[in-house]
């Protein structure tokens, strides 16, 4: 019986590195998307919606639904299910459209 996905496929990953999520250090394995690294820590939400302020995270997992948007290294609206986690990435929960800096 395999207890984890990594055990199932006999994964021998390269060394993990760290990304930052809302000020917290999160490990990521080389090749994992940002969304996958967050799921691995049981983090499921990293956006709040524009109208209701409701939490959202990855839904379709293949870049179609755009629910998994977050602010990555200061750039808003990044599809975290497609974006590979890079060492030192800073991921911030995106509030609404993520363009509060443009408000007048």
């Amino acid at each position: 019986m395999h207890r984890t996905p990594a055990e199932l496929v006999g994964a021998r990953p390269e060394a993990a590195y760290t990304i930052e999520f809302d000020g917290r250090e999160v490990p990521a394995l080389p090749g994992q998307s940002i969304a996958a690294a967050l799921w691995a820590q049981d983090i499921l939400a990293w956006r709040t919606t524009r109208v209701g302020g409701r939490p959202r995270g990855a839904f379709c997992g293949i870049g179609v639904c755009f629910d998994c948007l977050a602010t990555v290294n200061g750039r808003a609206n990044q599809r975290t299910c497609l974006l590979p986690a890079q060492p030192g990435d800073t991921v911030t929960t995106q509030e609404g459209h993520g363009r509060a800096d443009l408000a007048v």
Binding site: E7, L8, E14, L29, A36, C60, F66
Partner: protein, 477 residues
């Protein structure tokens, strides 16, 4: 008008090709259909470009971990991995020999027809990150995405698509939770549940809306597809071994929780998918993987006016002839774009299309395999067609459009009080379908709620978001 390499018996030699940079064939999508098409065409002497949005070949079906994850046995998360391994190594050989130009990270957002087709691709957010690929013929192998039907609580974190759970597991080796209910309709549910339990999740139930009895109407088709039956039986055996219960004629009619899903309510359904009062029961879970079949991704062709057909599950697919030609000269299609039918069918159609494009005969065995698999796909589609009463799962405040947060009540108001009779009018009145995903998630639901029972292709002039700077800037050479 010469539209295929078969009209050019004297193709230019290698030296001339390098100068012209016009490919004999451009294949859009490196999943099963596109891969099979590209390696077959290259093997028959065509110079091919293979464009794909992803970083590695395989599409969604053969999605697999990046090399950094060091997966020694990626095949344990796959059915038919050997076929993919064979295609991959042929792709490597053809790429090394210059017969295939494999363009990863190229998402095609529009196609221009002509004697020489022009495919416009975006490579990322930077200003100059775009490309134009020119080719005499184009094969569309852009696959499918999942059909969703909304229900109360479906926007909670922890509620993910069944295909999404598969994709994140296959590529990132992660799970959305430890206790995952799998629900919806279609064969993907069994595959997803089987992967999830093999990878260590507990699956308290697989909840399938249909009774599966419809399959019995197609016994000859079933008997002609023993491989498909074996695939289903394989998933069934895995689920049985892990004690996973299949609840037929049932649906998740609500997901509970505030910040994330903590439980679901499952109800029995009548034959129209109407919940049977009093049949509800609650199942605790920390994730729900849900989907109601797949929808062909065909906007690149439909924006050009390619003819479509309605499939037995109520989706819209490209209409093709026995040689996989669409109604547009020079444009072929294969796999899910022609109606969802799985990887085996896609492999057969990709190979078949490539042979026709190259002007070669199609072996009768290949044609027969394609026809058997296509018949199976149509049977499967008919069995999993959503029942019309699924809309009774909705409450007035259930968001139907996830992007624009448009609840069912506003859509019903647009239909019942403002006179909207189709999805487009509902969109103009309520913004449902106007958001980031361009109606891919809510489209079928909105069409159904608007009383428009004639499925039609969604209009999406741009197949994916393209930075304004790329549209405004000079065209790449």
């Amino acid at each position: 008008m010469p539209t295929s390499p078969s009209d050019h018996p004297n193709r230019p030699e290698a030296g001339e090709r390098a100068v012209s940079e016009v490919y004999d064939l451009a294949v859009v999508g490196a999943g099963p259909a596109g891969l099979a098409a590209a390696v077959t065409a290259a093997g028959l002497g065509l110079r091919c470009a293979l464009l794909d949005a992803g970083p590695r070949p395989g599409g969604q079906y053969y999605r697999h971990p990046a090399p950094g994850l060091g997966a020694v046995h990626p095949e344990r998360l796959h059915h038919g991995w050997a076929a993919f391994a064979a295609l991959s190594s042929r792709l490597k050989v053809h790429t090394a020999a210059g017969r295939i130009t494999y363009l990863t990270g190229h998402q095609v957002w529009t196609a221009e027809r002509g004697e020489i087709w022009r495919l416009h691709a975006t490579l990322g957010p930077e200003v100059g990150a775009h490309a134009v690929v020119r080719a005499r013929t184009v094969l569309l192998a852009t696959g499918a995405y999942e059909r969703q039907l909304p229900f109360p609580g479906w926007t909670l974190p922890g509620v993910v698509t069944a295909g999404g759970a598969q994709a994140m597991l296959k590529s990132g080796l992660v799970l959305p939770g430890r206790r995952v209910v799998v629900a919806g309709s279609g064969p993907l549910l069994l595959a997803a549940a089987s992967s999830l339990v093999s990878a260590g999740a507990t699956v308290p139930a697989v909840v399938e809306a249909t009774s599966y009895l419809h399959y019995a109407k197609g016994l000859p088709t079933l008997a002609a597809n023993p491989a498909k039956l074996a695939e289903g039986a394989g998933h069934g055996a895995t689920l049985l071994r892990h004690g996973v219960r299949l609840r037929r004629s049932s649906a998740v009619v609500e997901a509970h929780g505030t910040e994330r899903v903590t439980a679901v309510t499952v109800a029995r359904l009548d034959r129209d998918w109407r919940p049977v009062p009093g049949s509800e029961r609650r199942i605790a879970c920390d994730a729900l993987a849900v989907g109601h079949g797949l929808l062909p991704q065909i906007e690149l062709a439909t924006e050009l006016g390619a003819r479509t057909r309605e499939t037995p599950d109520g989706s819209v697919a490209l209409a093709v002839d026995s040689g996989m030609r669409t109604s547009l000269a020079g444009l072929w299609a294969a796999g899910e774009t022609c109606g969802v039918g799985g990887a085996d069918l896609a492999l057969a159609e990709g190979e078949l299309a490539a042979r026709v494009i190259a002007g070669r005969p199609v072996p009768p065995a290949l044609r027969a395999r394609r026809e058997r698999r296509r018949a199976f796909a149509e049977l499967m589609a008919a069995a999993h067609r959503p029942g019309p009463a699924w809309t009774e799962w909705l409450r007035p405040d259930t968001d139907v459009c996830r992007c624009e947060e448009v609840p069912a009540a506003r859509i019903r108001e647009a239909v019942e009080e403002l006179g909207a009779g189709d999805a487009r009018t509902v969109k103009l009145l309520t913004r449902a379908g106007m958001g980031w995903c361009q109606g891919r998630m809510c489209g079928p639901a909105v069409a159904c709620l608007s009383g428009d029972d004639r499925p039609r292709a969604d209009s999406r002039p741009l197949a994916c978001p393209v930075p304004l700077a790329q549209l405004a800037g000079p065209e790449p050479s």
